[in-house]
């Protein structure tokens, strides 16, 4: 098995076949993640660098463990201590890592398109671990893997995505990926957090939470990205949770066995009540476990590409 591209930059340029390949490979990888001995040698002798220009715990650790479980040399470049602080450009940093023999660079960056710029200028494979408000392909892949694992497939499902769509790269990647795999997608947000042109993605813009979640198989709530908001785009957290937060009442129109998802970290009580977060329908922790499996699959498929 192999992927067609050198890089994983977004779901926009990924075919349904490639997505299928990744999800199938992740199923095998998950056995390793949940097994006792978390060690295989698929990436032995390979070097994987995580280059994070934004704070992150779960994604960075997830990638680092995925690399280590497969025997790679995993290095974490933290921006505060690197040459970036001295004014080095992204391209020069990338070329430096290239020159040291890096096979895969995993980048997170606050500027949309930064991974694309890097990919055009380095020999190493580049994985986008989240760029600005653009895409977060590995999150969407792990979400789709979680859905497929729980419900047996994606085609024909109804999925609602709620919350701060405007700033959310998770929402963009998920909408693109889910549509490609044949799901229906509903979106709902405060009007100040709904970006223009969502219709072009083929998503339905809903009137209310109740309208959005009706008969849904999956409901995905997004984190309010307080750090990305230059100005308050809603009046207060109390008003947000009252009109836009998910709770035991407004979720009732969804299917009984609906999967409740959240990319984390959750602002408890704001986006979703604690009862829902910790309840039976929640798969938030499974998403985290699956994240490692999906990232192992990607690393495996990217390095396998060169050996064909």
């Amino acid at each position: 098995m192999k992927l067609r591209s050198k890089d994983i930059l977004g779901l926009e340029d990924m075919s349904p076949e490639d997505i299928g390949t990744i999800l199938d490979t992740a199923r095998d990888m998950k056995k390793i993640v949940v097994g006792k001995i978390k060690r295989v040698n698929y990436l032995q002798g390979r070097t994987v660098v995580t280059l994070f220009y934004e704070n992150s715990t779960r994604t960075r650790v997830s990638f680092e463990l995925a690399s280590k479980y497969m025997g790679a040399n995993a290095v974490n470049v933290s921006v505060a201590t690197s040459s970036v602080a001295k004014g080095e450009t992204l391209i020069d940093t990338g070329r430096t890592l290239d020159a040291m023999g890096t096979d895969i660079i995993i980048i997170r960056h606050s500027k949309s398109g930064a991974p694309h710029l890097l990919a055009r200028n380095v020999k190493a494979s580049v994985i986008n671990a989240g760029d600005g408000m653009h895409e977060h392909p590995t999150q969407a892949l792990l979400d789709m893997f979680t859905i497929k694992e729980a419900l047996g497939g994606i085609k024909g499902l109804k999925v609602a995505i709620l919350g701060d769509i405007y700033h959310s790269r998770v929402a963009r990647s998920n909408i693109i990926g889910l549509k490609k795999m044949g799901a229906e997608v509903n979106v709902y947000a405060p009007s100040t957090l709904m970006p223009p042109g969502m219709e072009a993605y083929g998503a339905r813009i809903c009137e209310s939470i109740e309208d959005a979640v009706k008969d849904c198989d999956v409901v995905m709530s997004l984190r309010i990205q307080l750090e990305r908001q230059k100005k308050a785009l809603f009046p207060s957290p109390a008003e947000y949770s009252r009109f836009f937060g998910l709770n035991g009442e407004n979720i009732k129109g969804a299917r009984k066995d609906v999967l409740l998802m959240h990319p984390g970290p959750v602002n408890r009580g704001l986006e979703m009540t604690s009862a829902l977060i910790d309840g039976d329908n929640s798969v938030i922790e499974t998403q985290v476990t699956n994240g490692v499996a999906v990232r192992m699959a990607l690393l495996y498929l990217l390095t396998g590409r060169e050996e064909k």
Binding site: K111, S112, L117, M133, Y201
Partner: protein
């Protein structure tokens, strides 16, 4: 030098004359007619070429002083000459800003020494383009400015803008406004719409331009001072200007070739050579700009020539500076997209690229007439080619038009009867 240009089609803003000879003596058009018999130092055979008044650019950036690594007066004027521009008005956002007579004199002197086309500086409306205190417009006018503008840093304070307009009018200086409400623009880096959402980039709503166009029209209407709207890019701006002209407001407007040839789609793939301000808009806006050009709502085509170094553009989209080079693509793009498509006649194009900007800037150019300065370009309109940025004479190559198929090549450029460019 005396030149005899034989057998050209002479195009002025109001007429085309077939098969005439032009005789240039001592920098002046000495005779226009058939079968000139005068002695000449050099005879140029017209053979199907068109003779147009040298193009006049009401809006460019020469980057000198302060940013000579992007462009300087020597390279910028050579780029202009290659593009057929014989007179160019440069914006004041240099370092230091053109907000006093000393900087104006520096540009005028350097242009005289090193430039090959006529350079007309534009002074700032406010000191340091900071939008607070008025610049010394009177002294700058004495030193040579032809207009005032704070260009890319619009005067947000409406009261300061009003004072700037009435003060400028006392010195008969046109006021040029880059219309952008900075609060609405909110640091966006491309047009707000489907493409900005897909690329995850912050958008600049078209209303950021429209709101300011409306303000300038209202201020002009109130003060009776003419206003010139720079680089119109939206459908609503075109409509606002059209309505204002109808009720007699003294408003004029310009657009640039990129606003009638490209849409926001050009930003896809994070192409920083498609990043400019105002940003590329939608196809609906492009159509409205073309209609505005056709019906005369938009008087002028300017380049907004904005050179940037390759390294400055080869960065994250958000971090790249705004602007593209324009001297060497403006004529072929305008000809190909406006004249060859039947939107404008050739004389109308001459009006928008030469006569109208001359009138705006109050300079005695923009027409080929006996007794006037011989600023003339010879153009081969049948010449079809692909734009090649590597052949640009500008120091910078930041253009989204590389590889575009166009028609119309500048063959020879005369400034005051002197050849400054020959293909």
């Amino acid at each position: 030098m005396r030149y005899l240009i034989k057998n050209v089609r002479l195009v002025n803003h109001d007429a085309v004359t077939e098969n005439v000879d032009l005789y240039i003596d001592n920098g002046i058009v000495a005779h226009i007619g058939k079968d000139c018999l005068q002695d000449a130092d050099r005879i140029l055979e017209g053979n199907g070429l068109y003779a147009l008044p040298g193009l006049v650019d009401a809006h460019c950036h020469l980057r000198d002083p302060g940013f000579e690594y992007k462009e300087d007066i020597a390279s910028g004027t050579r780029s202009a000459a290659k593009g057929g521009f014989t007179s160019i008005a440069c914006m004041p956002n240099t370092n230091p800003v053109v907000d006093n007579a000393a900087v104006v004199r520096y540009i005028m002197d350097k242009a005289k020494r090193e430039g090959v086309v006529n350079v007309y500086p534009i002074g700032s409306i406010t000191k340091g383009q900071a939008g607070e205190e008025l610049s010394e417009m009177g002294s700058m006018k004495e030193a040579g400015i032809v207009a005032v503008s704070d260009d890319g840093r619009p005067v947000m304070n409406s009261s300061v803008m009003k004072k700037g307009m009435i003060y400028a009018s006392q010195f008969n200086l046109p006021v040029i406004s880059h219309c952008e409400d900075l609060d609405l623009a909110e640091g966006g880096s491309m047009n707000e719409g489907v493409v900005s959402t897909m690329l995850g980039l912050r958008g600049i709503p078209s209303s950021a331009e429209d709101v300011m166009v409306a303000r300038e029209i209202l201020l002009s209407e109130y003060t009776k001072v003419p206003i010139h709207i720079a680089h119109v890019s939206t459908k609503t701006s075109v409509q606002l200007i059209r309505d204002a002209k109808r009720r007699g407001v003294k408003v004029t407007a310009e657009t640039c070739p990129h606003y009638f040839t490209l849409t926001e789609e050009a930003c896809k793939g994070y192409n920083t050579n498609a990043k400019m301000n105002p940003p590329l808009r939608t196809s609906e806006d492009v159509e409205a700009v073309k209609e505005g050009l056709r019906d005369g709502t938009i008087d002028i085509i300017a380049t907004d020539h904005a050179p940037h170094h390759f390294d400055e553009k080869n960065v994250e989209f958000d971090l790249a500076p705004n602007g593209i080079v324009g001297f060497e693509t403006a004529f072929p793009l305008s000809y190909t997209y406006l004249v060859a498509t039947g939107i404008l006649s050739l004389p109308q194009l001459v009006h928008k690229l030469s006569t109208a900007p001359s009138k705006l800037l109050n300079i005695d150019r923009g027409t080929i007439e006996t007794g006037k300065a011989a600023d003339i370009i010879l153009v081969d309109l049948d010449n079809e080619y692909s734009i090649d940025v590597s052949a640009f004479l500008s120091k910078s190559k930041n253009s989204p038009f590389d590889g575009f198929k166009v028609k119309g090549r500048i063959v020879t450029t005369f400034v005051s009867g002197r050849i400054v460019y020959e293909a």
